[in-house]
């Protein structure tokens, strides 16, 4: 089996586990699942609504296995249930927008964090023991130990409330109409800046450290001495010889980190009322909208798995040895 196929199989298993977990959760909780699920809405919903909800949710007196088969069938049909707080909107409708914004925020912040971390970490390794090296990595680690939501509050307070330099929340201004206009895109960018910086700031420390430590090893390698002996220009030595090799181990850990960064991002969205999945999850929790909550959990998990797979593909593209090993063992 090739490397990527093997990884894909693993993510399929992980996705399956998440789906099963999602199915079991309400049914494993103490008490009658339907009562737990719809407790907060007993007054608003009539008996007919409740019955149809129960059905939509796959809660019946049928044996667990039959319910499970039912559940999988409706999942495959793209049916994730009906929102309680915004009854009777299907949760898929609600999630679609959130997913887009979350992916945007996530991609931008990981890119910023990874790029900055690579630059700072490489530089620290090249200037081993310099003042930069003794100050910057510990400093980024210190910021990295801030909880995301705390740094978010701090940044929000300073830049949006105190200095009023940037918007306080949401994904774009009320005064611009969505569309591919410069005004709209500009508004999206300014609204993105604070939450993306927050997430990048917290995550950058880990990249700095990882790149620095591998770079120190790479600088010691013969191929670097050879690159210099070849009289290549500095930027080529740094880029094609040092950085490309130093990034590899970090890319492997990128996959694990993505789940972590995404978790932090969810909290950051809450603070900035950024309309992504995190904010929706928060809203679902506070309104006890269990169907929405569960659908979000599934959506987030699947996004993270997909990103993980993308990272694996990137790794295979960057490291010929992985590809080679894969074809050899297939």
């Amino acid at each position: 089996m090739s490397f990527l196929l093997r990884r894909a199989a693993f993510y399929a298993v992980a996705g399956f586990v998440a789906v099963t977990l999602n199915f079991l959760l309400p049914r494993l909780m103490p008490g009658d699942p339907a009562t737990t699920l719809f407790a907060g809405y007993a007054d608003q919903l009539g008996p007919d609504d409740l019955a149809s909800l129960k059905e939509a949710y796959g809660l019946s007196d049928a044996p667990l296995l039959a319910q499970y088969a039912d559940y999988l069938r409706s999942l495959l049909g793209g049916d994730l249930g009906t929102s309680l707080s915004q009854f009777p909107t299907p949760v898929t409708d609600l999630i679609r927008d959130g997913l887009g914004w979350s992916l945007l925020l996530g991609t931008v912040s990981v890119l910023i964090g990874f790029t900055a971390g690579t630059l700072l970490g490489s530089f620290a390794a090249w200037r081993r023991g310099s003042r930069f090296d003794t100050l910057v990595p510990p400093l980024t680690m210190f910021v990295g130990s801030f909880p995301y939501f705390f740094l978010a509050l701090l940044v929000l307070y300073l830049f949006a409330v105190r200095w009023q330099a940037l918007p306080q929340g949401h994904a774009y201004g009320m005064d611009v109409a969505p569309g591919l206009t410069p005004e709209f895109l500009g508004s999206v960018a300014t609204h993105l800046l604070l939450p993306a910086t927050t997430v990048a700031l917290v995550s950058v420390g880990a990249w700095v450290l990882s790149i620095r430590n591998t770079m120190i090893g790479v600088l010691d390698e013969d191929y670097l001495t050879m690159a210099e002996a070849k009289g290549l220009r500095t930027w080529r030595v740094m880029g094609h010889y040092a950085a490309r090799n130093a990034i590899l181990p970090t890319v492997t850990s990128l996959g694990l980190a993505v789940g972590h960064v995404f978790s932090g991002q969810l909290l950051t969205e809450v603070v900035f009322t950024y309309p992504g999945l995190g904010n929706q999850l928060y809203a679902a929790v506070t309104t006890h909208d269990y169907p929405l909550m569960q659908a979000l959990f599934l959506m987030i998990t699947i996004s993270v798995l997909a990103v993980n797979f993308a990272v694996d593909a990137l790794y295979a593209a960057l490291d010929p040895r992985v590809r080679g090993a894969a074809t050899a063992s297939s």
């Binding site: 191929y223 490309r244 010929p320």
Partner: protein, 340 residues
């Protein structure tokens, strides 16, 4: 062999490269280790000069000091490294700026490292590693550089299809051949080969050595060839320099070194290896260990291990002098105790 002596050969041959009184220090926490101590050595165009000595005697340090590839704790504290340019004095590599040095590297002096697995960049195709050095030093289009890369491959006996391979996809011997092809890419005048075959098995080792000889005869570059294996050296070199504890203790034609070694250390070294013809295989070796370079013994550095050491050896450092057709630094051959 006790005929009158001329003063030491500190004036090196006017040739391709002349290393004069070169000194390299390593600043370690324990103190300063002088890994290369006032070495003078010259290379003529097109010759193969072998450099031998026990591990840690400073062979690599000396060789890597020439293109200034040593790193941090190493500092060149004295001497000159002149690269001849056909006429006049040539240029002193130690006086060049980083940018001037970058231009000299590989164009004039190329290096083949001990283990090509480690010396080739694992994430770049072989072709890219050939093309980048060509295009950095010469104004060449990508197409033309690729064609040259293919020709270079042919030169070292490797099919051009292997250019698309990554280093890990090649065998050890092929990798070393590729390393040689890269080294020859710009037709350098000097090739530094630091134990280029130690990582290979004996058969491949022989093939590579034969290949180097063949290419050297054809292209006429000079080689500074480093190895532990003195029998190999005798086979390939025109002249051989023997190093001990940071100094060159003997320098002569390969035949002279083999047939008539003068320095007790050279004799010990030769005795440590089976002779080429395999008839006489006593492996006596040299008792004791090389000195600590941070705190070397006074007098001759080899004295503590030398079977012929006498009082003078322990007190006074011998200078290198020319005795007949060789240079040697040993009181057995040195000028009398009182010299005007």
């Amino acid at each position: 062999m006790a005929e009158p002596l001329t003063a030491g050969t500190t004036a090196p041959p006017t040739g391709l490269l002349s290393i004069e009184n070169l000194t390299v220090d390593f600043h370690t926490p324990r103190g300063t280790a002088r890994a290369v101590d006032g070495v003078s050595l010259g290379l003529f165009p097109g010759e193969i000069l072998g450099l031998a000595g026990e591990s840690g005697c400073g062979k690599s340090t000396l060789a890597m000091a020439v293109p200034r590839l040593l790193r941090d704790p190493a500092v060149i504290t004295g001497g000159r490294v002149r690269l001849g340019d056909g006429d006049g004095d040539g240029v002193d590599l130690l006086g060049l700026s980083d940018e001037e040095l970058r231009r000299v590297r590989w164009r004039d002096i190329a290096v083949v490292f001990q283990n090509a697995m480690n010396a080739l960049n694992p994430v770049l195709r072989v072709e890219a590693q050939l093309v980048d050095v060509i295009r950095t030093h010469e104004r060449t289009g990508r197409r033309e550089a690729r064609e040259r890369a293919a020709r270079l491959c042919g030169l070292v006996g490797i099919g051009a299809d292997r250019l698309r391979a990554y280093p890990h996809e090649l065998s050890g011997g092929m990798r070393q051949r590729i390393a040689i092809a890269i080294a020859l890419a710009l037709r350098p005048r000097l090739l530094i080969m630091d134990e280029p075959t130690t990582a290979l098995d004996v058969v491949v080792q022989r093939e590579i050595i034969a290949e180097v000889r063949r290419l050297q005869e054809r292209l006429g570059f000079a080689v500074l060839f480093i190895t532990h294996d003195i029998s190999l050296l005798v086979e390939i070199s025109d002249r051989i320099a023997i190093m001990y504890a940071g100094e060159v203790v003997e320098l002569a034609d390969a035949r002279t070194i083999l047939d008539d070694p003068a320095h007790p250390y050279t004799r010990g070294l030769l005795a440590s290896f089976p002779t080429l013809h395999g008839d006489d295989t006593r492996l006596t070796g040299i008792p004791g260990a090389p000195p600590d370079l941070v705190d070397p013994p006074p007098g001759c550095r080899f004295a503590p291990r030398c079977p012929s050491a006498h009082d003078r050896c322990r007190a006074e450092r011998p200078v290198r002098v020319t005795v007949g057709d060789r240079d040697v630094a040993c009181h057995l051959y040195g000028p009398a105790e009182v010299t005007p």
